[in-house]
């Protein structure tokens, strides 16, 4: 049995130039974990795809946009590392200087990684908001017709009851009391789902409360 958990595994597989093959774990425990864990297999595959994309981009030898170099230059000038020169000579100096030892594909890969990081950073909160709204919309679209149907069934149940029925029968009184309990839980669950629309358990409780209400109304109608 694998003794490595998902966090251990992913910590060990930080992509770096020193571990060029991210799809071959270094030890048996990690290999066993990778075999058993679909989430980590997916993680490794994603990393592989990113690296492949970076390699392709590097092979095409793209020219970084000028604004990247302008901002880098401004920063380096500000820190006193370089003196103000023309753009072309600065580029030559830049590549001829501290990055001259690096092959251009590596620079392209780094550039892609930086772009991906920025994209992830910006898209996280936006995606989160969009997802919450989607969950909420999905839940509301499935529960609103149900809720409306139950409300009309409830009205029909009460209107069909004889005036004296609810006060006379302890069984009917018990059904009404329990209906109130379920209505209260529906309200609590609806609030919970609004607060955390992606919360699967809250949605599950809400659906079950609707089911219970439907059962109770059916029993009231049978009387």
């Amino acid at each position: 049995m694998a003794t490595v958990n998902c966090k251990d595994f992913q910590d060990r597989f930080e992509p770096s130039d020193d571990s060029p093959r991210i799809d071959s774990p270094p030890d048996l425990d990690a290999k066993a974990h990778l075999r058993d864990c679909p989430a980590c297999r997916s993680f490794v595959q994603d990393l592989g795809m990113i690296r492949a994309a970076a390699a392709e981009l590097a092979a095409s030898d793209p020219e970084p946009p000028a604004r990247i170099w302008f901002s880098l230059r401004a920063e380096l000038e500000k820190e006193g590392i370089i003196r103000g020169t023309s753009s072309k000579s600065w580029l030559r100096e830049f590549f001829g200087g501290r990055f001259s030892a690096l092959p251009r594909p590596v620079l392209a890969g780094g550039y892609l990684a930086a772009l991906l990081a920025i994209a992830f950073g910006l898209s996280g909160p936006i995606n989160s908001r969009i997802n919450r709204q989607r969950w909420l919309d999905g839940t509301q679209s499935s529960t609103m017709p149900l809720s409306a149907e139950l409300t009309s069934a409830e009205k029909a149940s009460f209107s069909s009851l004889p005036a004296s029925e609810s006060s006379e029968s302890p069984v009917t009184a018990s059904l009404h009391k329990n209906l109130e309990i379920v209505d209260n839980y529906i309200s609590l669950c609806e609030n919970s789902v609004r607060e955390e629309p992606e919360n699967e358990l809250a949605r599950e409780y809400l659906y079950e409360a609707y089911q219970q209400k439907a059962d109770l109304l059916a029993q009231l109608n049978e009387r």
Partner: protein, 291 residues
């Protein structure tokens, strides 16, 4: 086949002695109507009972026979017990246009073979079944249900009635809105118990490959375990607390749904042979060592 013995309106002696005196006091005096019927049945017989109000007590015996003893006081209701093939149907029904809930009351004592299958519907009163090993389905509104030494596939549904099961085996599914459950000395391999506003107490064995799901909205879920038990535990309360005395091994793959929302305790106790899932909306979950 059926050899029914029908003894209608058999007054018991106490009622017989008291009745004349009471008649002098009031004109609305009621007599107990006692009915006893016997039916010969084959193995795996079925009994259906429909009683709006009153006690239903069912016990197993060794005879290949079903005995129904019914008692009711009102003249506005009638008790029927009829056999069709290997099935006996018992029913209380009104014979007057206007009856009060109290008029509908009838109490039953029924003896059945051990392997009989039961279907019981009792709105209010109580239901008690002992030593019956066949499948059974019990539905009530307010009536409490007590099972003892039963087995088979047991499904119980109440609205407000409580449920107690002592030394039950087989498969158990119980649901309620406001009833509380006590599951004691259980030997079931599948337990699914769900109530909204009720407590659940589970003090039974966790059989290998057994599945135990206990769920409520509010109230307390309490589970007792012994040092030798073996189970995988998932206990989640969305808005309430989870307390555990079990020394659990954390899971290798945490379940994101259970660990992300609410308070959750997940892990394996010993080898994790059984699966225990406890879930509450805003109630408290206690996993305690058996004393």
């Amino acid at each position: 086949m059926s050899t029914a013995q029908f003894l209608p309106l058999r007054f018991n002696w106490k009622t017989g002695l008291l009745a004349p005196g009471l008649l002098l006091v009031t004109s609305s005096t009621v007599f107990a109507h006692n009915i006893e019927k016997h039916f010969k049945v084959e193995p795996r017989s079925m009994v259906t009972i429909h009683n709006p109000n009153g006690k239903v007590i069912v016990k197993a015996w060794t005879k290949s026979e079903i005995m129904v003893i019914a008692t009711h006081t009102s003249d506005k209701v009638e008790v029927d017990a009829e056999q069709t093939g290997n099935r006996v149907d018992v029913m209380t029904h009104q014979i007057s246009a206007s009856v009060s809930p109290e008029d509908m009351r009838a109490d039953y004592q029924i003896n059945v073979p051990e392997d009989a299958e039961l279907q019981i519907h009792d709105d209010s009163g109580e239901v008690s079944v002992a030593n019956v090993l066949g499948d059974m389905n019990v539905e009530t509104i307010g009536a409490g249900v007590a099972l003892e030494d039963t087995a088979g596939y047991l499904t119980v549904k109440t609205v407000g009635g409580s449920f107690q099961c002592i030394r039950c085996a087989g498969r158990l599914e119980v649901s309620s809105i406001s009833g509380s459950f006590k599951l004691l000395s259980l030997r079931s391999y599948h337990v699914h118990a769900q109530t909204s506003k009720g407590n659940i107490l589970f003090d039974g064995e966790f059989l290998p490959n057994g599945i135990y799901r206990l769920k409520n909205y509010s109230g307390v879920i309490e589970v007792h375990f012994s040092p030798g038990d073996s189970f995988d535990l998932s206990a989640t309360s969305l808005k309430g607390k989870v307390n555990s005395q079990a020394n659990l091994t954390p899971p290798a793959h945490p379940h994101t749904v259970y660990s992300k929302f609410g308070n959750a305790i997940l892990g394996t106790f010993n080898a994790g042979h059984a699966k225990v899932e406890l879930s509450s909306f805003d109630g408290t979950i206690n996993i305690l060592k058996r004393e």
